[in-house]
């Protein structure tokens, strides 16, 4: 089960009124390498992973929901005060017609989130996929930072990118743990 803490993992501030950024950010919301995909993938995989790394998938999967919430906050702040005309100019006309001001799980190109989430039940295959997913999310953040002109958004995105680095590091360590010879005496 989960407890909900009513605050964001890291403060989200948006300084520039640029609804077009919302269109880019939504990639990390409902895109293939986004936070929702990551959260669902890890929380699903944890059942069939050796118990020594199950907790890691649980923790990281949970944290991804906190990231999802940060992205949602950015998108909401950028769109809530936009007129339909401004949304149209920002490339969000289709979105507005389909969803109004609601946030929605789709990618920057408007494709609905699909369950393109793999889970092989093979610990090494799953962890390698997770490492790749973290590196892909890291690069998505880089590309969004490159096209953003808002230092406050960039700050929050920098935080999220650093978390992907830490997650990748932890998944790599999980692979090392699973590779370890079982009879070997540990020397520290």
């Amino acid at each position: 089960m989960w407890y909900y803490e009513k605050k964001l993992q890291y403060p989200v501030r948006v300084g520039v009124c640029n609804p077009r950024m919302a269109k880019f950010l939504i990639e990390q919301y409902g895109g293939a390498d986004g936070e929702l995909a990551a959260a669902l993938r890890y929380l699903n995989q944890r059942y069939t992973i050796p118990s020594r790394v199950m907790g890691l998938l649980n923790d990281i999967g949970t944290e991804e929901f906190a990231h999802l919430e940060m992205i949602a906050t950015m998108v909401y702040k950028l769109t809530k005060d936009a007129t339909p005309e401004q949304l149209k100019e920002a490339g969000l006309g289709d979105h507005y017609v389909d969803h109004g001001k609601s946030i929605y799980y789709h990618n920057a190109a408007g494709q609905k989130f699909d369950m393109c989430i793999q889970s092989k039940g093979d610990p090494i295959a799953d962890l390698y996929e997770d490492i790749a997913a973290e590196e892909k999310a890291r690069s998505t953040y880089q590309w969004i930072i490159n096209i953003s002109d808002d230092p406050l958004i960039k700050d929050s995105l920098g935080f999220l990118r650093e978390r992907e680095i830490v997650h990748s590091q932890r998944f790599r360590e999980a692979v090392e743990l699973l590779k370890e010879e079982q009879q070997k005496k540990k020397v520290f």
Partner: protein
């Protein structure tokens, strides 16, 4: 110590339609080099940890827009 950004220069054809935007960079952050995290690494204070997105200075690999330091080459200056 490892560098966290690498550069390479792809082939530039005299027939390319756009002026070259080289060199090309890619990121090679710390997790590619660290291996299993050693014990006893330095920690940030809780506040600094929040600001950096990690508790560990040794895992902090910030990012800046690499295009900011790139110049378009308009002629054959090398």
């Amino acid at each position: 110590m490892a560098t966290y950004r690498k550069w390479y220069t792809p082939y530039v054809s005299p027939l390319d339609p756009c002026p070259p935007l080289v060199p090309v960079s890619y990121e090679t952050p710390v997790q590619l080099y660290l291996g299993f995290q050693p014990t006893g690494m330095k920690q940030f204070s809780p506040f600094e940890a929040l600001a950096h997105g990690t508790l560990w200075p040794g895992l902090f690999t910030p990012y800046t827009n690499p295009y900011a330091s790139k110049k378009r080459r308009h002629d054959n200056d090398g």
